[in-house]
Amino acid sequence: MLEQVVRLGRAGIGIIERLGRGHLLLWHILGGLGALSVRPGLLIRQIYSVGVHSMLIVGVSGTFVGMVLALQGFYILSQFGAEQTLGVMVAASLVRELGPVVAALLFAGRVGSALTAEIGLMKATEQLSGLEMMAVNPVKRVLTPRFLAGFISMPLLAALFSALGVLGGFFVGVGLLGVDEGAFWSQMQAKIDLHEDVYNGVIKSLVFGVVCTWIALFQGYDATPTSEGVSRATTRTVVHSSLAVLGLDFVLTALMFGD
């Protein structure tokens, strides 16, 4: 019994220690932002590997999600004779929720795991140590550009997801199911609010970008430098980021649309 309590305490202390190390790392990462403006080349390379490589998966997923939304929505809305509002339904669900959230989940799987593996392997092969001994700060040199790249790419990817989703919904709704084109757009434009919906969606994706990239970098940087440790850290990245995204989505939604 006592042993269990001790174990619980140890686990608690472990979690708090990790949280502390995580926040310290974030602080150091942010401290490197100033130096990055001198070397924009580093950032461009990272946006390439973070953003460009995710364009395809995010774009394709967005298109299909939009198409499915239109298909499902049409059958439900047509029962009330409200097919005209299909555009609203598709756009609202994409811009408010699915765009930021699904793009972030894809981002965690596609980019987060890759970042963790990359940083973890750099640690395991002593590359980070090597940089340190070359008097180069590995956090500023390696982590900061990746962090900023994630921060910049995430909202762009989410926007890409939503926009292609709306077009996919348009294609299915108007092209295949015969919803009136004018009604599709005008209802959407009348009901979707720039501040309430679009801006809040962008804010969500910015938050998700920070959290996903941060978790991925921390897991890689904090990984046990063995192949097993890195593979575990990669799994943890995907699990933790996905949970964080879904949990934060609830909090942010409650804050933004709650009143």
């Binding site: 002593e126 590359q127 140590s129 090597g130 001994m133 008097a135 180069v136």
Partner: protein, 271 residues
Amino acid sequence: MPETSDEPLIKIRGLKFFRGDRAIFDGVDIDIQRGKVTAIMGPSGTGKTTLLKLIGGQLRPQAGTIHVDGQDVHKLGTRDLYRLRMRMGMLFQSGALLTDINVYDNVAYPLREHTKLPEAMIRKIVLLKLEAVGLRGARHLMPSELSGGMARRVALARAVALDPMMIMYDEPFTGQDPISMGVLVQLIRSLNDASRLTSIVVSHDVHETAAIADEIYVIAHGQVMEHGEPKVMMDSGEEWTRQFMHGLADGPVHFHYPADHLEQDLMEKRC
């Protein structure tokens, strides 16, 4: 404050370092003389790599001091520590080359980070350093295309790119075939003598190390067991040192990990 040249370059006094409850170092004193090759030897797991990380300021000791060129490493601020590290080269066991850039860029890396030299000048330095390790022709290869020995030689070229005052070699001979081993042994010695470097070699390969070292420290159980010139160490009267230097299977260090009697163990049913 620079000290006179016959002062040791590195002075370690009363060094204590613990991992959890386990003492890695428990009161270690080491002097590393300028211009010499000093070997730190000991069985696996005695914290030889840890010692190098302590000297480089990557780890902090619980007690004791390490002075490098008159500066207390663990009392320096980040800026001064980084400045000191620029004068230290370190060769990691794996080479620690950056895997996403090629050999040329790896060697050029510290130059581009720390100097404002024009690219033409960097090119000359890089090619000269690569020539010194015999890999000028391999400059367009990626680290993944190199053999272990070649990777270490590239890493060595990178370590000397900034013309440091000292180089620390972490297990340079481990896992090398006899030819690359011979190449590395010769490189370490010739680099040391040609550039008036100070070298620290951490290793447990007795013969290769004894061939190039001017002085050997043997560390075990968190203590310096003995130190002296290679010849003296080989003929040491101490039983422990003799066992280590000659690789005897049994001696003060037993072949068997502590266990119950074999008969008793075999008779028992449970695992």
